[in-house]
Symmetry: C2
């Protein structure tokens, strides 16, 4: 059987507009607001969601992939920069990616098709991170405490996601302190940050 039925209208402008509306809804009101009726209303288009997407699962998966592709490109750019660790940390802390991701993780709790999509995508992201950071940590100036790229990548990912999550609940106890701590660690590994912060 074919892995996925391909439609003739796979890249129509309408389809893209529907995905854009779905993404906006997801960010503004959460995934629960992403229903066929609301997407069409938001896009100002007739409700023909099921003409463009077989099921809502298909729509969500496509939306996720579109965002993941975008983010992966950003990540590769960051990891190619002169200070990959600083660039990676800044990217992780970027609110826009984090918020969408949070919604998809929540969505995965009750849409199994999304779950495997996220897992597979996460592995791809992690592979790229490890390949790049292994090189950084091999550099002679690296402190011995940070020899394991796996641990460093996981720590940075965990902290950034936690900060974003807590922000959503208006919590910020310890945020400054931990950011300062991470900044110090990165400085030890990669030297002072060159250039300006994005946020």
């Amino acid at each position: 059987m074919p892995a996925r039925r391909r439609k003739s209208n796979d890249d129509s402008a309408t389809r893209t507009a529907l995905l854009d509306a779905a993404e906006a809804l997801m960010l503004e009101e959460g995934y629960a607001a992403v229903t066929s009726r609301k997407i069409a209303a938001k896009a100002g288009l007739p409700n023909a969601i099921h003409y463009y997407f077989d099921t809502m699962d298909e729509l969500f998966i496509e939306l996720f992939r579109r965002g993941a592709d975008r983010s992966l490109a950003q990540q590769e750019e960051a990891l190619r920069s002169p200070q990959p660790l600083w660039a990676f940390w800044d990217l992780l802390r970027d609110r826009k990616n984090g918020d969408l991701n949070t919604e998809f993780v929540a969505l995965a709790n009750h849409r199994k098709a999304i779950r495997s999509e996220i897992a597979e995508s996460s592995r791809t992201f992690r592979r790229g991170q490890l390949a790049a950071l292994a090189r950084v940590l091999e550099a002679p100036r690296s402190a011995t405490a940070f020899r394991s790229p796996e641990a460093v990548v996981l720590l940075l990912s965990a902290v950034s996601r936690f900060l974003i999550m807590e922000n959503a609940f208006d919590l910020d106890t310890g945020h400054e302190e931990v950011v300062e701590f991470v900044d110090q660690c990165i400085t030890e590994i990669e030297g002072e940050r060159a250039g300006t912060r994005q946020h």
Copy 2:
């Protein structure tokens, strides 16, 4: 107006049974499966949810508070133990608490009443953690890298939640490494772990 209407049957056995069923459903199938019909079916009781709870929000809030009270008691016990940092870390990594918490955080995305409940509860937990760990970190043997209790608490919380979340997606790259790293850090601060691990 009264902040919350109090019912005569606030602690009836039926009410407790319904909360138990709701909790089990939440753990087994996710919060989306926690509907009035399914709770009643799971409990083997007639569907009189709205006799015992005015709204589903009320049920969820009560379920959250029940779990939070239980967890807070566990946390206080852990922080009173001879090795509060080790006990705290073990508690954080306990799957049962983490899984329920994950569901409530997701639920908060589309139930605003839950959001403020979680935020308030988090502040209470964090206060207790900081009070206890500030004492631990004052001890002379503490390495200078861990002077900020806010940062230490946040790091441990972030890492434990991230590990639990990734587990739900069958991801475990770097998990061993980071656990080993945290164990080393705790050993530096609080010495070798005495006694046995719970998991």
